[in-house]
């Protein structure tokens, strides 16, 4: 979908049909999900295997440390934000992976799988029900799992719509450089 | 307790996908309470490398202006590191993804289509007045309808720049003014007297909030205002340079 000319200057909202797309456009692993004012993203929800909540929660600390040691560890994912949640509905516990990013769904999933594998944290997904047993060698199965567990939004809103995170970081750098320059002229 | 409904009545190929081909999962679900499932915790070697007890260390205070390093923060189960009293309840801390919430509530029977229509309502409201949601201090907002076997549920994901407690009253006033609040009347547990009972509305949001246990921000702790200012500065600079050609 084309990004409007004045993108990024005015907040925007977009309502999205139930399927998650406006017209069916085939991607490599399934339908393409369009870019919205909240860029690309997903909400993956999967039931966790009984008794695994604490183990899953412990990965929070692992990822925190990975990023502290190497802030650019997740650069390939082109993220804005990522949130992992554990929640209950009735007596069942679910894991949720919310991501807002600048690369399309399938590419993100491939990159994420490869990255988590490299960092050794892909094991967190083994705690999810229905996770493919041959996930180590069967990346398409991994991707299918993710797609099958994606819950598309029916409304997305962005305060600075369509602005990619790389653009934002560049802009912040420019503003800071200008600020420093002005300070020097005092 | 009834066994988890893996194959069942769900809608869009969610859990009911026929490709749940893993016999492993199907088998392990049945006696799950009795036979402990294999729990996949993080590699002990990795955990040993963490220098402190993961249980309750508060992170170091965010350094304003240090958005250059993406940052991740693990959060305890309660949603906060130490109990800090806000006007209406505990304060959830600022993370590299700023402030935010994930509100999940069951949709009243038969109301799913009504809820879904509100997507169009909000889209229109923002198109007509782009700054209509300004009091919410949002970066992003996403509304989701999902069903994990217990009927359709509504989820409100928000990433914003003000803690839950400070501006919830203004948010509720905004919802009343714009009619957004009427989507919530379709959710179970929403107070009947919502129009006049702001504390009850606040309680609904707090009760239905699901805190994250991990949050990551690519440009951590930067507010939406800062982002917009920076984008405008960069845009103005570009335009200026064009004129210098």
């Amino acid at each position: 979908m084309n990004v409007p000319a004045d993108a990024g200057l005015q907040p925007a909202a977009m309502a999205i049909p139930e399927e998650g797309y406006f017209q069916l456009e085939q991607g490599r692993y399934g339908p393409i999900f369009p870019r919205t004012p909240a860029n690309y993203g997903f909400t993956i929800i999967a039931k966790i295997k009984p008794g695994t909540a604490d183990a899953i929660r412990a990965y929070g600390k692992v990822l925190e440390k990975i990023v502290r040691d190497d802030p650019h560890a997740f650069a390939v994912l082109q993220l804005h934000y990522l949130r992992w949640v554990l929640f209950n509905i009735e007596d069942k516990t679910f894991f949720m992976y919310q991501g807002i990013f600048d690369t399309d769904f399938d590419k993100y999933t491939e990159d994420a799988v490869a990255l988590f594998h490299k960092l050794g944290v892909d094991t967190v997904f083994e705690n999810l029900e229905e996770f493919p047993a041959d996930w180590k060698t069967n990346v398409p199965a991994f991707i299918k799992f993710v797609r099958d567990h994606q819950c598309p939004s029916f409304l997305e809103y962005g305060e600075y719509p369509y602005a990619p995170s790389a653009e934002i970081k560049k802009a912040l750098a420019v503003k800071r450089a200008l600020s420093v320059m002005l300070d020097e002229t005092q | 307790m009834s066994p988890d409904d893996l194959s069942g009545s769900t809608r869009r190929a969610f859990l009911g996908s026929a490709t749940a081909a893993t016999a492993l999962t199907l088998a392990s679900s049945a006696g799950a309470e009795q036979t402990p499932t294999m729990v996949h915790g993080p590699d002990p070697t990795k955990l040993a490398q963490l220098k402190t007890n993961p249980a309750a260390e508060p992170p170091s205070a965010p350094k304003p202006g240090d958005w250059t390093k993406p940052s991740a923060m693990a959060i305890p189960k309660e949603g906060y590191f130490q109990l800090e009293q806000g006007r209406y309840g505990p304060i959830f801390p600022r993370t590299p993804a700023n402030y935010g919430f994930t509100i999940i509530a069951k949709i009243k029977p038969g109301r799913e289509a009504t809820v879904r229509e509100y997507g169009g309502t909000i889209e229109k409201a923002v198109r007509e007045q782009p700054d209509v949601l300004a009091p919410l201090r949002l970066h992003y907002l996403r509304w989701v309808i999902f069903d994990v076997g217990s009927g359709p549920h509504f989820m409100y994901q928000g990433i914003f720049d003000t803690d839950f407690d400070k501006y919830l009253e203004d948010a509720v006033a905004l919802f009343v003014k714009t009619g957004i609040n009427t989507v919530f009347v379709n959710l179970e547990g929403w107070p009947d007297d919502w129009k006049t009972n702001v504390p009850a509305v606040i309680k609904f949001f707090r009760d239905h909030q699901r805190p994250s246990f991990l949050e990551y921000g690519e440009y951590p702790y930067v507010s939406a205002d800062e982002v917009k200012k920076a984008l405008r500065v960069k845009g103005a600079l570009s335009a200026m340079l064009d004129q210098m050609q």
Binding site: S179, T185 | Q85, E169, A173, T196, N197
Partner: protein, 449 residues
């Protein structure tokens, strides 16, 4: 079933302090504790005749020399014998009391209730008797009269008291830092008084007086029974010590000349010390403007000063009333009463360590929504207006680590490490009943009804 809310204000039932400013230059607060409920009720029964309604006070203003108000804490209502069901119908924050809400209010460090004086932070504080007097002679007479009365009503004791005094000259109200006070006046719908230009439209009575429709509609959730809540309101008491020496030292540090020092003082407050608003007099003081009520409050920010070049975004008056740069403003207004205490410090005198400051009341229909919101979100949030590390420079909880940002072209000025000019020394949440409610409380039976 709740009775229909009245549409006309019941001036003869509302305590005068809610609606009137009286020509008093002295006064006294007495913080009281009741022994046994019947004693407290007896004291109250005898004092009711001294408490004037707004109507009575207005009628007798010229002839009257002293004005009395009475209010109760939640434990005080219980100490009078109010039944548990009624007690439970009061709002959460009022029941907790101000000391327990320290984290919400930002009362940290030296401001923390552990360091409060006056001995009123515990449950034994039951009531406050507020005296405003036309002059010192009248204050003394009234104080003696109350002492004599207490001797006749054993079982009621004074936990502590505070004399309040306006700072001379008495042409207008000022605080110990030298700032003119009481320039922003809200008006309540139904009083017939038109707000001065810039003060905003009249506010629905229910924002300040229980039992009337507020800006959201008919009143809800009122304490029960109706007779108890009708025409009452809540009152937050705050005693702030003003560190005049530190303040003057600060001005001298950041301004080389008297003009520059006045400019710094103005940037902290949002008005010159004369009272002239920076919004209308951004570069030079204008005492004539300050003295003219038709002009001195007639300004907004959103269009004329969005970046705070005239009135800094974090200055005191801009925090206490963001005017058209905040939403829901009609639900955030508060009535302020009270006065200064302690001897003024002469202009050229060094800091003498004497306790001086303001002992003020904030009146509103919802402490959590109005008073606590202002403290929590406007005064003590370092990120108010995205400033990052700034709290209110005058009354925010300052510990030397916060800044004051003064927007300026081309680059803003940031004063780092603001000292504390004020410290919270005491405070409490009170319920100020209507006259009929006072009678109800004075005649509670043993069963608390």
């Amino acid at each position: 079933m709740a009775s229909q809310p009245p549409t006309m204000l019941e001036f003869d039932d509302i305590q005068h302090i809610v609606l009137t400013r009286v020509p008093a230059i002295t006064g006294r607060y007495e913080f009281l504790s009741f022994g046994e409920p019947s004693r407290g009720r007896r004291w109250l029964a005898g004092i009711i005749e001294k408490i004037e309604s707004a109507q009575a006070a207005a009628a007798r203003m010229e002839a009257q020399n002293r004005w009395v108000s009475v209010a109760f804490t939640w434990t005080g209502l219980r100490a009078l014998g109010l039944n548990e069901a009624s007690l439970a119908s009061f709002p959460e924050e009022f029941r907790q009391g101000m000391p327990a809400r320290w984290q919400v209010l930002g009362d940290t460090g030296a401001n923390h209730p552990d360091h409060w004086i006056e001995g009123i932070s515990g449950p034994e504080l039951h009531a406050i008797a507020i005296l405003f007097a036309r002059n010192a002679t009248e204050r003394q007479r009234s104080t003696q009269e109350h002492q004599a009365y207490l001797a006749r009503t054993p079982g009621v004791k004074i936990l502590s008291s505070l004399d309040i005094d306006a700072i001379p000259p008495f042409d207008y109200a000022r605080d110990h830092f030298g700032y003119r006070d009481r320039l922003s006046q809200l008006e309540i719908e139904g009083t017939g008084i038109e707000p001065t230009p810039g003060s905003g439209p009249p506010i629905k009575a229910g924002e300040f007086i229980l039992g009337y429709p507020d800006e959201d509609g008919p009143p809800v959730g009122l304490p029960q029974p109706d007779i108890l809540s009708r025409n009452g309101t809540y009152m937050a008491y705050r005693r702030l010590q003003e560190h005049v020496g530190a303040f003057r030292e600060f001005l001298r540090t950041h301004g080389d000349t008297p003009e520059e020092q006045e400019w710094v003082a103005a940037k902290l407050m949002g008005r010159w010390r004369s009272g002239a608003p920076l919004a209308l007099a951004p570069d030079k003081d204008d005492p004539g403007l300050a003295a003219d009520p038709q002009r001195n409050n007639n300004f907004t920010y959103a269009k004329s000063d969005p970046y705070g070049y005239a009135t800094p975004l974090g200055s005191h008056i801009r925090r206490m009333n963001p005017r058209d740069t905040a939403v829901n403003m009609q639900r955030r207004r508060m009535i302020r009463r009270g006065a200064t205490y302690g001897p003024p410090l002469a202009e050229d005198a060094p800091e003498d360590g004497v306790d001086r400051g303001v002992a003020a009341f904030v009146l509103c229909a919802s402490l959590v929504r109005q008073f606590e919101f202002a403290q929590n979100v406007w005064i003590n949030d370092p990120n108010f207006h995205e400033l990052g590390n700034d709290r209110d420079p005058i009354i925010g909880a300052q510990d030397g680590t916060f800044d004051m940002t003064i927007p300026k072209r081309p680059v803003r000025r940031k004063i780092r490490g603001l000292p504390a000019f004020t410290t919270v020394r005491s405070g409490a949440y009170f319920f100020l009943p209507g006259i009929g409610a006072l009678r109800y409380l004075a005649t509670l039976s043993e069963s608390g009804r």
